[in-house]
């Protein structure tokens, strides 16, 4: 039973990513259109019903799947074939490690809403994203094309740089929470500062959050950091790909955005917590509906309702981060490659480390002097 539940949760986590990726394709086009005084995708229709272009979510994959999957002469076939799966698959697996909710009581037993309950969840996420880089390098290497190879190398050096930055930006928050377990990190953020301000990562680590967002945006290889492949201007690592294999590379960027947004939500935005809705004094496994809701609803349904609230809260926060990321992507022009690496290695990394040191000192001093600012 518990194995089935874990499998179902993992499938749910992957589904969360896939649905987001499909949906983001539409969001991308519509959001950019609206901010640029255009209309955006609005042609796909079913029986004349257009639903503000939402059917493009279906039309795009159909197009990609039915396109010719052309494999050019001279490519390294095995690597060429497997590269998109690596690029897409591992970031997707990272989504299995997030706590989409806490643990709720239903039918007399506890149900955890985190697919993979690992005490090393954060390391798992970072590791999966790091393995995904191999897909990019592999695609460039296997393509038998100088352009592809150079694109792959750009991708590798960029993603390695920002992977390091990303880890450094989170170090402060992780030190604060004192755990690598993502569920525990979320549970930690349930406390309130002075009883009014939620003790979320963004409140306690504002600099860390900003740096995390920049490094995360760079990790997704999207504008203004889209140097590995730049749409029509820069020939990139997937130049020799077509059909759905190409589509998988495009989806990778969106999946990575979802991973970054989920990470931001988990570490900096309080995870599944709804501010002020959590029952006072309870956190972690012992969550319950606040009294004013709990008394109005039948006791047997408290678990599912709580789960829905948690999932809704998590999704809404992810959506918010994605919206901001998308807005950044459509606002800023692309960096030059030297600027990109300078930004990562010479600016974000030192700042993140400084942030970490300050945090560590603050925690040490607070402990030494016995200061407690949250309950």
């Amino acid at each position: 039973m518990s194995v089935l539940w874990v499998l179902a949760k993992v499938a749910g986590g992957l589904g969360f990513g896939m649905i987001w990726a499909a949906f983001l394709g539409w969001v991308e086009r519509k959001q950019s259109a609206v901010m640029q005084d255009r209309i955006g995708a609005n042609r796909a229709d079913i029986l004349g019903f257009k639903a503000i272009g939402l059917f493009h979510i279906i039309a795009d994959p159909i197009k990609l799947f039915t396109k010719e999957d052309f494999v050019p002469q001279g490519v390294r076939k095995a690597f060429h074939a497997v590269a998109p799966s690596i690029s897409l698959g591992f970031p997707l697996l990272a989504l299995a490690a997030f706590p989409y909710g806490g643990t709720v009581e239903f039918l007399g037993r506890p149900w955890s809403l985190q697919p993979v309950e690992s005490p090393m969840g954060l390391v798992l996420v970072l590791g999966m994203v790091a393995v995904g880089i191999h897909g990019v390098v592999m695609a460039g290497y296997a393509s038998n094309s100088y352009y592809g190879l150079l694109g792959g190398l750009r991708g590798a050096s960029q993603m390695i740089a920002y992977e390091a930055c990303l880890a450094a930006t989170m170090a402060g928050a992780v030190f604060l929470f004192g755990t690598l377990d993502l569920a525990e990190a979320v549970a930690w953020q349930a406390r309130m500062i002075g009883g009014v301000l939620p003790a979320w990562g963004i409140v306690l680590q504002p600099l860390g959050f900003v740096l995390f967002l920049i490094a995360g945006a760079a990790l997704t290889k999207r504008t203004p950091f889209d140097l590995p492949e730049g749409e029509s201007e820069i020939v990139g690592y997937h130049v020799e790909y077509s059909g759905m294999k190409f589509g998988m590379f495009m989806m990778t960027d969106l999946i990575e955005s979802v991973v970054v947004a989920s990470l931001a939500t988990t570490l900096f935005l309080g995870g599944w917590h709804v501010p002020f809705l959590t029952a006072p004094g309870v956190s972690g496994a012992g969550v319950a509906l606040p009294p004013f809701m709990g008394s109005a609803l039948p006791a047997g349904l408290h678990g599912p309702i709580l789960a829905a609230l948690m999932l809704g809260s998590f999704t809404a926060k992810v959506a918010l981060v994605l919206f901001v990321l998308m807005q950044i992507r459509w606002t800023l022009p692309r960096f030059r490659f030297d600027q990109l690496l300078d930004l990562g290695w010479k600016n974000i990394l030192p700042l993140a480390l400084a942030n970490f040191l300050v945090t560590a000192w603050a925690i040490y001093l607070a402990k030494a002097w016995g200061i407690h600012i949250w309950g």
Binding site: Q31, V34, M35, Q327, I328, T331
Partner: protein, 195 residues
Amino acid sequence: MPPQCSPPRGGGSRHGGLATREACGRVTVRPVERPERDLAVQVYLLEVLTGLGVTFRHFFLNLGRHAAKLLGVDGEPGSVTIQYPEDPPALGSRARTRHRILRRPDGAPRCAACLLCETVCPARCIRITAEESPEALIEKRARTFEIDLGLCVFCGYCVEACPVDAIRMDANDLDLPAFDRKDMIWDLRRLMEET
């Protein structure tokens, strides 16, 4: 390229180039004043926020306008998009659109097959073959007249060149795509009849 034409390799080219420039003595250096980059500019984050402010303003303003339109409230449109082809664009009166071949009063094409349009065409999209005309007062006429609209650059030179005003680009037809390249080649009959 023959070997003697290739530039010297490596550092040699740089020095060689420099020597040539000095020898020519025509290159002058003019220092350009760069605006000073203060800390706010260098941090870049402020500029990013300014930019995001612009895009967010547009986004929410347009979102509101779209919503207002859905609700039936009149106001500024949320987009400047022209919905082609449902909502055809208004063409200027001098716009060059698809060619058409004009007719004489008796219905025959005016074209005298002089090949001037074919000659002047920079895209080489006109192909004419001429023949003797059976009519008493007309000497030459086009046996075949084809315009490959897939190649045409719509420059209008053919119209300028025509000595008998047989070709014009005022069919007001921009809906030219076809599923086959062959269908993009318009012959005399199509150019005369489809107006």
